[in-house]
Subunit: 146 residues, 2 copies
Amino acid sequence: MEIRIGDLAKRSGCEVVTIRYYEKEGLLPKPARSGGNFRLYGEAHIERLQFIRHCRSLDMTLSEIRALLGLRDNPMQDCGEVNTLLEAHIQQVEMRVSALLQLKRHLVDLREKCSGSRSVEACGILQGLGNCNYHGESATNSQTSG
Amino acid sequence: MEIRIGDLAKRSGCEVVTIRYYEKEGLLPKPARSGGNFRLYGEAHIERLQFIRHCRSLDMTLSEIRALLGLRDNPMQDCGEVNTLLEAHIQQVEMRVSALLQLKRHLVDLREKCSGSRSVEACGILQGLGNCNYHGESATNSQTSG
DNA sequence: AAAATCTCTATAGTCACTATAGAGTCAAGT
DNA sequence: ACTTGACTCTATAGTGACTATAGAGATTTT
């Protein structure tokens, strides 16, 4: 049962380029090649890629995933590390949520400041942004990844 | 009243390199230079940089900020656009929060699966990550900026 | 005068991809 | 046999918002 990269992409809901990227990053082992130099994948690759995608859907970084894969690959080790890693990740997510909620409060406050005046000059929002009442580095980054 | 880039950095809580970066990106106008080619900033720059940093602390992207600065620079325009931009940003933040909360539920579920077994092999967490029960691209990116 | 600090430009790296260019491979249709 | 189209290959550059580095020059302090 050998499938090509496009089929693997379809099965895993992951783009072809991303699969090659994971290979380059050492998350996926180099697969066999066909006569025409096409990558040929088997069951093990499919399962491993699904594992990776699942972790990504949980917003883990590639290096976290690398660590998990490492643990999975030597199954004699203690399970505690897996736990620790997950725990740390949950905490990160929690911190990010609370930072965002605080952020949102500021934004909503700001929105109230617009009196509906015609000119930008008189708009309370821009004025609110001008004088710094609250200083604080937000601990979050934007960008939505598809 | 002319200050150098290091002082501006201290006043704005923003690194020197970041100030130069904003200049390169067109958010800050090119300042005057001293005899020794050092950048010299005045009040207007200070205020503008504070505006930018405030917007950044609200997690706005540089292009959102560029738009706001553009509106600020021609104050004859309608204030509605400022409102629209802010509204859109609030919605983005809301979406991100709800995506993260869903994420967290999955992670906590997963944590429960570890039975405290000694070996990684038997750990329910890794098994939980292996079979994909929930598929869904999370709409978030990690990384904490500080 | 020497040392320490600050500033300059230019370039490369971060993360997890995405996009592009230009070429080769393969299966189906004519 | 030939062409069309879909698929695959490698290599390189771009994204966003910076951060890090190298190597040089300016200024301030000792």
